[in-house]
């Protein structure tokens, strides 16, 4: 599934098993805090590659508030990047703030595109 904007993920499989969830949650948390995007005040969904029709469509479906906040976070992070200094600690993204605000929209747009493809290439059989 290399062609999809969200890429391959083992998360649903891991979440389906309590044992695996228990095992992987500390590792996942450590990894997320280790990758620097939270220190630059970004959310994980701000890192999704934008240059795809699915994501472009999904971005139009954000509420005005979500779109504004996203633009603000990206500008703030760009400025911090130019200065080569992470943001002050109180502006870091807290783990509970790191919600997937965009990926549900992307998944939905993807499903819509797949459905359109299905109807466009349908073969009708007479019963």
């Amino acid at each position: 599934m290399a062609g999809r904007p969200l890429g391959r993920s083992l998360a649903p499989y891991i979440r389906s098993s309590p044992t695996l969830t228990k095992l992987f949650t500390p590792v996942a948390n450590w990894y997320a805090s280790g990758s620097l995007y939270r220190q630059y005040g970004l959310l994980y969904d701000d890192l999704l590659i934008e240059e795809r029709p699915e994501v472009q469509k999904a971005l139009t479906r954000l509420t005005p508030r979500e779109a504004y906040d996203r633009a603000f976070r990206i500008k703030r992070a760009s400025q911090a990047d130019v200065l080569h200094v992470p943001l002050p600690r109180e502006q870091w993204t807290k783990p509970e703030e790191d919600v997937r605000y965009l990926s549900p929209h992307v998944t939905q747009v993807e499903a819509e595109m797949q459905e359109r493809e299905k109807w466009d290439t349908l073969t009708v059989m007479r019963k």
């Binding site: 139009t60 479906r61 509420t63 929209h105 819509e112 459905e115 359109r116 109807w119 349908l122 009708v124």
Partner: protein, 419 residues
């Protein structure tokens, strides 16, 4: 020969829904005249008079056939296309009609589509912004280039203010959100829905509907009784015909006298391509339409005049006012022909499928015992010269509804026409 005669008699006999069955919160009525296509209409009390916020009924009308729990908006359209059916939603001041027309044999699919629109439309924000709002905007733009429809919208607002006065269209920059639409849908789709079928038997339709969904049979709150107010308004508009509406409204159940009055006022000749000699037509310079709009508890009668310049419209308006004021002095033979015309119009309106559903559907939904057109036709036999004169005299005594759209500098005021 005999066969064709029999069919004709069957057609006359079946210009009505024979029985109305209450089924799972629905009133189901059907008439089958062996036509090759079937239509099923879900008629809900969701017209603009039931809306809590202006424009929400318009939004709900355009939300029909969007994604539901069963299938997406695209899926609904593509699947109906494969079956060769037509889906439509129609809004009036009292009702919202969701209609499917299709070939015999596909009843199950289309009843299911209509039922899922009622029961499980998802009212998503992105569909509202991407699909519903653009359609509403184009309908509103079309309204703004059509002064005749606009004049009637304004006339309703003046005549009835709230309730029936609410416009069928949202305003261009509507504050309606998808949450408002969903809330409105929950109130109006909870009960009080009539299912009307043509080309399908009552029992088939009944069982299909009860398989598809059941309602809680809650009733939609009854709106306040309509009152007539009247008034005058003028709207500047360029590039459209000069438009003038002169009308009167009457509260209460629409009477056959008012229908007769509309037929009496109509100056258009009954023979196609012939020239009307009425002064209202100004030697074919202006076009005149007699307006008669009956609702469940009020009606609006009037004349809609359109012309290329203000002078012609003013002259035609004077003639129209004279006709309205002089209608109580009607001659016996004029009244007779007006009654015949009104009767013919009533009868021919239920000949078509859309008319049958519109005229008789509202009776089914109102829970009336009598759901045939014969009663409305026989009511015309009771119209006498005295009753006609009394009704029209009372009507023209009330405050007129006067709407002008076009060059407001030169178009006349109500009192200039003698109102």
């Amino acid at each position: 020969m005999l066969a064709s005669q029999t069919r004709a008699s069957v057609r006359i006999a079946r210009r009505s829904f024979a029985t109305v069955v209450e089924n799972a919160g629905f009133k189901v009525a059907a008439v089958d005249s062996n036509q090759p296509t079937v239509s099923v209409t879900f008629l809900a009390k969701a017209g603009s008079r039931y809306q809590q916020k202006p424009g929400v009924a318009h939004a709900l009308k355009n939300f029909a056939f969007k994604s539901t729990a069963d299938r997406s908006a695209l899926g609904t359209v593509r699947e109906s296309e494969l079956y060769g059916g037509v889906l439509s939603s129609t809004l009036s001041r009292e009702h919202l009609a969701l209609t499917a027309e299709f070939l015999r044999g596909d009843e199950k699919f289309f009843v299911d589509v209509l039922a899922s629109v009622i029961a499980s439309t998802r009212y998503t924000r992105h569909e509202y912004e991407e699909l519903v709002l653009p359609t509403m905007e184009s309908e509103i733009n079309a309204l703004h280039t059509d002064p005749a429809t606009r004049a009637l919208e304004l006339a309703h607002a003046l005549a009835f203010r709230s309730g029936l006065g609410a416009s069928l269209f949202a305003s261009p920059h509507t504050p309606i959100t998808v949450g408002d639409v969903q809330k409105f849908a929950q109130t109006v789709f909870a009960g009080d829905i009539a299912v009307l079928g043509t080309g399908i038997s009552q029992s088939t339709l009944s069982s299909l509907v009860s398989d598809a969904l059941s309602l809680e049979s809650r009733t939609v709150p009854t709106p306040a009784q309509s009152q007539y107010f009247g008034g005058e308004t003028r709207l500047e508009s360029y590039g459209t015909p000069q438009t003038l509406f002169i009308g009167f409204g009457a509260p209460g159940v629409p009477s056959p006298e008012l229908s007769t009055l509309a037929a009496y006022l109509d100056p258009n000749p009954s023979v196609k391509w012939s020239r009307g000699s009425s002064p209202m037509l100004q030697a074919e310079q202006t076009s005149v339409q007699a307006v008669y709009l009956p609702y469940s508890d009020a009606s609006l009668v009037g004349l809609l005049i359109q012309g290329p310049n203000a002078q012609a419209v003013t002259m035609a308006g004077k003639a129209a006012v004279a006709a309205l004021k002089g209608s109580s002095g009607v001659k016996a033979e004029e009244l007779k022909s007006a009654i015949a015309q009104a009767k013919f119009r009533t009868a021919s309106s239920v000949d078509g499928r859309a008319g049958l559903v519109e005229v008789l559907g509202s009776k089914v939904l109102a829970g009336l015992k009598e759901t045939s057109v014969e009663a409305s036709l026989s009511a015309f036999d009771k119209v006498t010269a005295t009753s006609f004169k009394n009704t029209t005299a009372a009507l023209v005594k009330s405050k007129p509804t006067f709407v002008v759209i076009g060059d407001t500098q030169t178009l006349p005021y109500a009192e200039e026409l003698g109102l």
